[in-house]
C-alpha cells in the first residue's frame, strides 16, 4: 500500500485545516479521510497523518485507538453492523445476529471468504424506532426479521 493521499484528499484536508485554530483538531477528520483512501489504518498511515498534521505520532495513535469506527484491518464490500443496545435487544437483535451468522457462515468480527460481507456488532446507532436494526455501510435498515434480512442481503449481492 502506498501511503499517500490522493490530490482530492489533500485538497479536502487543506480545507479542513481551515476550520480549526490548531492542527491537532483535524486528527479525527484526517483519520476519516485516511480510512476512505486506504480502507483501514496501519502504523504507516498513522505516521503519514501525523506528518501531514505536523503533530507527534502518539497523538494520532491515541485517537486512532479510542474511537471504534477506525479499524486496523480491511472489511468486506458490505460492512454489516448489528445494533445490540437495549431498544434493539428487547426487540430481538440476538435473533438478527444469529440469523446473519448462520446465513453468512461467519462469526462476529469475520469477513466472508469472498470478501463481500463483514459482520460486527455496534452500540446504539440512534435509530431505535427501527429496532431491531443494523447499518450496512452508510445506510440504516430496520425493523428486521428473517424475511427482511433475506431481501436486504439479496439486494446487496
Amino acid at each position: 500500500m502506498s501511503v499517500e493521499f490522493s490530490e482530492k484528499a489533500l485538497e479536502q484536508l487543506r480545507e479542513l485545516l481551515g476550520h480549526y485554530p490548531d492542527r491537532q483538531a483535524a486528527v479525527i477528520p484526517a483519520l476519516h479521510l485516511a480510512q476512505e483512501e486506504f480502507g483501514y489504518i496501519t502504523q504507516e498511515v498513522e505516521d503519514y497523518v501525523a506528518k501531514l498534521l505536523e503533530i507527534p505520532a502518539t497523538d494520532v495513535h491515541q485517537v486512532f485507538t479510542f474511537y471504534t469506527m477506525f479499524r486496523d484491518r480491511p472489511v468486506g464490500k458490505y460492512h454489516i453492523k448489528v445494533c445490540e443496545s437495549v431498544a434493539c435487544h428487547i426487540m430481538g437483535s440476538t435473533n438478527v445476529l444469529d440469523y446473519l451468522r448462520k446465513k453468512l457462515g461467519i462469526d462476529v468480527g469475520q469477513t466472508t471468504p469472498d470478501g463481500r460481507f463483514t459482520l460486527t456488532t455496534v452500540e446504539c446507532l440512534g435509530a431505535c424506532e427501527m429496532a431491531p436494526m443494523m447499518q450496512v455501510n452508510d445506510d440504516f435498515y430496520g425493523p428486521l426479521d428473517e424475511k427482511k434480512l433475506d431481501e436486504i442481503l439479496e439486494s446487496l449481492e
Partner: protein
C-alpha cells in the same frame, strides 16, 4: 391529550429540508429580526423567559447557560452543537436534522449572535453519514444566500459553521469529552469547573447545546417567549414542547412532540398506540437508558423535568423505552450494563472497574452460576460508582442498575437462585396448564 407540534409540524411538509421551502414557511425571519432589532442581551432574556431547557440530557435552562459566557473576554467564543445522539433509546435529533436542518442552522445563528461567536461547530456522531450530508447541503444553501460567511444577511456580523464528525464513542456526547474530541484528542471528560462557558473549546468560552434545543430558538424568537412558555401548562420551570423518541414494545414506535405536562401514559398509549399485541405493560424507561426505570403503575407522571425528578427518575434525552410483560428485567439490565462498561472511557477507577465487575457478575448469573449475596453485591457496587466520577457516565450506569434491581428484586433473586428466567418457567407452566 393532543400532540402540540412546533418542530415536527414541518416534518410532513414535502422537501422541508430545503431552504426555499423553509423560507416559504417563515424560516430565516427570526434571525433577521434578531440582527436588525435585538441586542445579544435581549435575545438571552427572551430565551430565558421562554423556559427552554436543554434537551440533550441535563435539562439546564438554555438562556441561563448563554448568559454565563463572559462578555469581556478577549478570546474568540464558540458555539458547539451536540449532535452525538448516543444515549440508547434516543433518535429525535436525527429526525430534526433530516427534516428541518435549517431550523437548527437558524437557531445556531441566533445563539452565536447572542454569545458573540463567529465560529460554530456541529459535532455529529460518525455513524450519522446521511444526516451529516444533509447538514452539509443545508450549510451550502445558506452560504449561497449569504446567510453564512462574512457579513450575514447584509449586516457586519460574520458566522462560519463547520461540521465535525465523531468516530464512535458514546462518551463524546458528554460535553467536555466532546470538546476534547473536537480538539483532536481522545474523548476523556474534563473536570468542572472550569465550565465550558468560560474555558471550553480551544481554551475559549464555549456554549454546548443539543440539536433539538437550538432548533426551537427561531420559533421562540418569531412567536415570542410567552407563547413558547405557555405551551406547557402548570409546569413552573419548563416551557414549550419536546420531541419524545418512543421505542420498544409499542404499536407505533417513532418521534412524538408534546408539551411537558403530557403524561408518560399518554405518550405510551395515546401517541405510540399502546403495547404490541395488546399485552400488559411492565416497565418504561422515560428518558434514555441511563434514567431510572418506572413500573407500569408509575406512568401517570407528567414529562416535565421536575415531576420526573420527583418520581425518582429523569427527563434525560426524552428517549422512552417501553417494555411489555414478557420482558426479562435481568436480561435487559445485563444488556444495559454491558453498554456502559463498553462505553466507560476508562479515566475514573469507580466507573471503569465498577462497570467491569457488574458485567462479570451479570454474565456469571446468566450462565447459571449465581451466588447468594449477588443481588446485594450488585447494589453495593452501583452505589459505590454513584457520584464518584469526573463525568456523569458513572451515574448513568449506576442509576438503571439500582432502579431495576430495587423495583424488580424478585426477578433478580430468581435468576441468582434458579439459574434461569422466571418468565420462561411461567410460560412453561401456562403451556402445561392449557
Amino acid at each position: 391529550m393532543p400532540q402540540v407540534k412546533v418542530l415536527t409540524e414541518f416534518f410532513d411538509v414535502p422537501d422541508s429540508h430545503k431552504i426555499d421551502v423553509w423560507e416559504k414557511h417563515g424560516g430565516y425571519q427570526a434571525i433577521r429580526k434578531v440582527l436588525k432589532s435585538m441586542t445579544p442581551d435581549e435575545v438571552i432574556e427572551e430565551v430565558k423567559r421562554s423556559k427552554l431547557r436543554g434537551l440533550g440530557g441535563a435539562g439546564f435552562p438554555t438562556g441561563v447557560k448563554w448568559g454565563f459566557v463572559p462578555k469581556d473576554s478577549e478570546k474568540p467564543k464558540y458555539l458547539v452543537v451536540n449532535a452525538d445522539e448516543g444515549e440508547p433509546g434516543t433518535f429525535k435529533d436525527r429526525h430534526v436534522i433530516m427534516n428541518i436542518p435549517h431550523s437548527l442552522l437558524e437557531g445556531m445563528m441566533i445563539a452565536s449572535y447572542a454569545i458573540g461567536a463567529h465560529v460554530a461547530y456541529i459535532y455529529i456522531r460518525g455513524e450519522y453519514v446521511h444526516p451529516a450530508r444533509r447538514l452539509e447541503e443545508a450549510i451550502a444553501e445558506a452560504k449561497a444566500k449569504g446567510y453564512l460567511g462574512k457579513g450575514i444577511f447584509g449586516t457586519d456580523y460574520d458566522l462560519e459553521v463547520y461540521i465535525h464528525r465523531g468516530a464512535g464513542a458514546y462518551i463524546c456526547g458528554e460535553e467536555t469529552a466532546l470538546l476534547n474530541s473536537l480538539e483532536g484528542k481522545k474523548g476523556w471528560p474534563r473536570l468542572k469547573p472550569p465550565f465550558p462557558a468560560t474555558v471550553g473549546a480551544f481554551q475559549s468560552p464555549t456554549v454546548v447545546n443539543n440539536v433539538e434545543t437550538l432548533s426551537y430558538v427561531p420559533h421562540i424568537i418569531a412567536r415570542g417567549a410567552d407563547w413558547f412558555a405557555s405551551l406547557s401548562e402548570g409546569t413552573e420551570r419548563c416551557g414549550g414542547t419536546r420531541i419524545f423518541s418512543v421505542s420498544g414494545h409499542v404499536k407505533r414506535p417513532g418521534v412524538y412532540e408534546a408539551p411537558l405536562h403530557t403524561t408518560l401514559r399518554e405518550i405510551v398509549y395515546d401517541f405510540a398506540g399502546g403495547i404490541r399485541g395488546d399485552k400488559k405493560l411492565k416497565a418504561v424507561i422515560p428518558g434514555g437508558s441511563s434514567c431510572p426505570v418506572l413500573k407500569a403503575d408509575e406512568i401517570d407522571v407528567r414529562m416535565c423535568f421536575d415531576d420526573l425528578a420527583k418520581a425518582g427518575t429523569m427527563a434525560g434525552s426524552g428517549g422512552v423505552i417501553v417494555m411489555d410483560e414478557d420482558t426479562c428485567m435481568f436480561d435487559t439490565l445485563r444488556n444495559i450494563i454491558h453498554f456502559y462498561a463498553h462505553e466507560s472511557c476508562g479515566q475514573c477507577t469507580p466507573c471503569r472497574q465498577g462497570t467491569g465487575w457488574l458485567v462479570r457478575i451479570f454474565d456469571r448469573i446468566a450462565e447459571g452460576r449465581g451466588m447468594p449475596g449477588d443481588v446485594d453485591n450488585i447494589l453495593e457496587i452501583a452505589q459505590n460508582i454513584m457520584g464518584r466520577t469526573i463525568c456523569p457516565l458513572g451515574d448513568a450506569a449506576a442509576m438503571p442498575v439500582i432502579s431495576f434491581v430495587t423495583k424488580f428484586r424478585e426477578e433478580f433473586e430468581y435468576h441468582v437462585r434458579e439459574g434461569r428466567c422466571d418468565l420462561e418457567d411461567r410460560k412453561q407452566r401456562v403451556a402445561m396448564a392449557s
